[in-house]
Amino acid sequence: MEKLRNRSIQWNILVGMIGISVLLVFITSIVSYRFTYDSVEENSIDYTSKLIEQVNSNIEYYLEEMDSISRTISFNYDIKDYFTKSDLLTDGQKVMYEDRIKASISTILESREDIVSICVFGYSGNIITSKNRALNSNANIEEQDWYINALSNNGKVSISSSHVQNIFKGEYPWVVSLSRELENADNQKPIGVLLIDLNYNVINEICSNIELGEKGYIYIIDQEGDIVWHPYQRLIHSGLQDEVIDDVLMTKNGSFSRYINGEDQIYTVKSSERTGWKIVGVTYSDELVSNSSDLQLYFGITILVILVLALVISYFISRSISKPIKRLKKSMEKVQAGNLHEIVDIKTNNEIGDLSHTFNQMTEEIRLLLDKNVAEQRLKRKSELKALQAQINPHFLYNTLDSIMWMSLANKNEEVVEMTAALAKLFRLSINKGAEFITVEDELKHVENYLIIQKYRYDSKLNYKITCDDTIYRYKMLKLSLQPLVENSIYHGIKNKDGDGNIIIRAKDDGDYILLEVEDDGVGMTKEQLTNIYTKDSQKGSGVGVKNVNERLKLYFGEAFGLHYQSTIYEGTTVRIRIPKMEMNADEK
């Protein structure tokens, strides 16, 4: 299972398809072959049964015919008379009877080639035969099977197996003997035995033309298991061939199979009631489904063809799946390596196509985001630079140094020190080693230093106050965000005011947020000025500050966190900053 999971899709599809196809074909082939074979075997046994039944019928019919001939003879009054009264007859009369009897027997014989001889053996010792031949003195008639059987059969016909007939001198024909006991006119007393010998060739003719496939054949055995007729009886009797006899003797009517000499054979048996013979049909199993070995070969080839097809089809299917996947994989690798312009060119409408489409969209989004991020970063740098630039305002510096100079000339040394120190601190905090964020505390200090300096210049015209909630000192805020607002307040609000101006700076803890306010009671702004406050560049080069602060706030904290101006003309202006509370990171301190 572990191995399976780790193999490529292509491999798994291939193996799976081949496995299923072969299994299916295999099972189907075996089942259908078996079915075919079984039904053909059944049909064959059926056919063989019918065939040997036919043979049996033919033989029985033939023997029936002979039986009726024998009955005709047995009804012959001449015979009955002659053999009953033979002791009482004169020689002349005997000859007369004999002639008449012989005449009636020859009429029967004349038309037939199959009857070899007809004889009547009287118990009184008289014998009449159809042949003009002397009898074999060495043949003991009363010991012969046909004679004995006739006596024990109650006047019914007995049929012998095939044998050599030796009752005539110098003649030894092969015959099948029909014998019956004859009775006198009253049908009370037996008078002798009638013997009709049939040419063995009759049986030969009935049996020898039967075909059961190329190798199959039929044969006949009698009740004792001796062969009546067999196409290979010479071979069997000389020991060159064997034949199944015992199992046949045990079967009345039916079939069984045997494995002989490397071949499967089917034996179908029919017992004849009349003769006691058994007629056997032998068929060879490998002939049943003719060319069964060819059939097997065809099945084998079908499997091979299906295998090849399975191979080819699965190859193409799996390729159609894994190739685009591989392409996708390659593109992903390229994106991973940094090429965000990579587009996966898979246009199919299936799941893989969807996947690729989604992937392309995702890559584009990432690219856009990255670009945006880069743009943002650039903007931030630019803004910061601008802020810094604004901060290092030559005018401001020049004025401040001027003030320091005049104070020095006026020997206001303490003030000189304070102002210089404030200036130094101002610039130190401005630069702040380039970091974006600064604590609330430091930013307030920064704006305080700025106000200290400005106070020296504006004196009583400028009053300020800075308050801050204790809890928020350590949180971070954007540097250089208050100072430009204060600067704006001074130059646009207070400077042009008649009388003194006040600026209050508040920093408040507002739950998850920090609220910063710069409030002045300067001249305020008209509605028009309010709306333009972010767009106008200031004349003195420090109006950049407000726009800059607003931009930077929005950049760093989000669109919702810009400046909020409130102003009433002639009364004052309040600007608010709201930022989320954030702790300073270790690397920002």
């Binding site: 080639e113 074999n136 003195s137 060495n138 043949a139 044998h163 050599v164 030796n166 001198k169 110098g170 030894y172 024909p173 092969w174 040419n199 063995y200 060739n201 030969n204 001796d226 062969i227 290979y232 009886q233 010479r234 071979l235 009797h237 000389s238 060159l240 070995s293 060819d294 070969l297 065809y298 084998g300 080839i301 091979l304 063809v305 295998l307 090849v308 191979l311 080819v312 190859y315």
Partner: protein, 328 residues
């Protein structure tokens, strides 16, 4: 990736080749085992006795079984040695798969047999062999063994110092001499110091008949008689019957005939040793087919003779040997 594709490609090609090969095999399947088999059979004489009719039946059955074609040729009479030689040569020219030959002369047919073997035609001797050993196999009755059976049976019930007459047919004939030697050895096997007289009747019934009667006239007593072929046996049997000696002496014969069967039935002949001509023909063809198929065969194949006494003569296995079917 390249490697994988190459493997797959070669796999597919391999399978396709296999397909083609199997189709080819199917087409040729039906032709296998159809190796041409045709056999040229040369008898001793055009006129076929019962014996040779049986040989033919055996050939026919074996040929049918194995799908072999055959043709039987012979000179007009058994004495026509030159005629038979010519037929063998004709056989060689027609290039059959094998030749079956019953030689009319043991010595004179040798060189033409060698000629056939040199022409790469397997020769199988049936019933009568030749002096050369340059043939594939000899299929027939072991005459020596047949004679031995006769001798053994003859001497079985005799006493020490008894005397027997062996009636042979042609002095110098290969089969005759073999039978004679076998018979003599069979008698001697008992170590009863039995006297043996051998006489040659020149294959003449009357001659044999006359000799037996003559010996009887001279008052020479024989306690047993052997006839080594049909004519000699018939002569001996009839003589003994006419002399009224039936049943007083044991008579063992080789080869049967209707007359001999009569004599067997009436007790004059004690037992007959019969050959199995059907087997000679059948085994002859089967051996030829084996050789053609490239199998190993024995040099000497004995089709065996059988000793049949009066009690056994009507047993199923013996009937066919004594009473061959008459074809209508």
């Amino acid at each position: 990736m390249q490697m994988r594709n190459k493997i797959k490609l070669s796999l597919i090609i391999g399978v396709i080749l296999l397909l083609i090969a199997s189709l080819y095999i199917i087409n040729n399947r039906n032709n296998d085992g159809e190796l041409k088999k045709s056999v040229w059979v040369i008898y001793k004489s055009e006129f076929q006795t019962e014996f040779w009719k049986e040989v033919t039946k055996g050939i026919d059955l074996a040929a049918e079984e194995t799908g072999t074609e055959y043709v039987i040729v012979a000179a007009s009479s058994e004495g026509d040695v030159k005629g038979q030689i010519a037929l063998v040569e004709e056989g060689i020219r027609s290039n059959p798969s094998a030749i079956l030959l019953a030689a009319t002369d043991y010595n004179k047919l040798s060189s033409v047999v060698e000629e056939a073997t040199d022409s790469d035609i397997p020769v199988i001797m049936i019933d009568s062999g030749v002096s050369t050993t340059d043939y594939v196999s000899y299929v027939g009755t072991d005459n020596y063994k047949a004679g031995y059976k006769v001798g053994q049976r003859l001497a079985k019930n005799l006493g020490v110092g008894d005397r027997v007459m062996i009636m042979n047919y042609i002095k110098g004939a290969q089969s005759a001499m073999e039978r004679e030697q076998g018979a003599i050895d069979g008698v001697r096997a008992y170590d009863k110091q039995i006297g043996i007289d051998v006489y040659y009747c020149n294959d003449n019934v009357d001659d044999a008949y006359a000799y037996v009667t003559k010996m009887q006239d001279y008052g020479v007593t024989f306690h047993g008689y052997a006839g080594l072929n049909e004519t000699s046996s018939t002569g001996v049997g009839m003589a003994l019957y006419d002399l009224g000696l039936s049943g007083t002496v044991e008579v063992i014969c080789i080869d049967s005939s209707i007359k001999e069967i009569e004599l067997l039935e009436n007790g004059t002949i004690t037992a007959i040793v019969v050959q199995q001509p059907f087997n000679i023909g059948y085994t002859g063809i089967k051996t030829a087919v084996d050789v053609i198929m490239g199998k190993e065969v024995d040099k000497q194949i004995d089709t065996e003779s059988k000793l049949i006494s009066k009690d056994e003569m009507y047993l199923p296995e013996n009937r066919e040997l004594l009473f061959p079917f008459q074809d209508n």
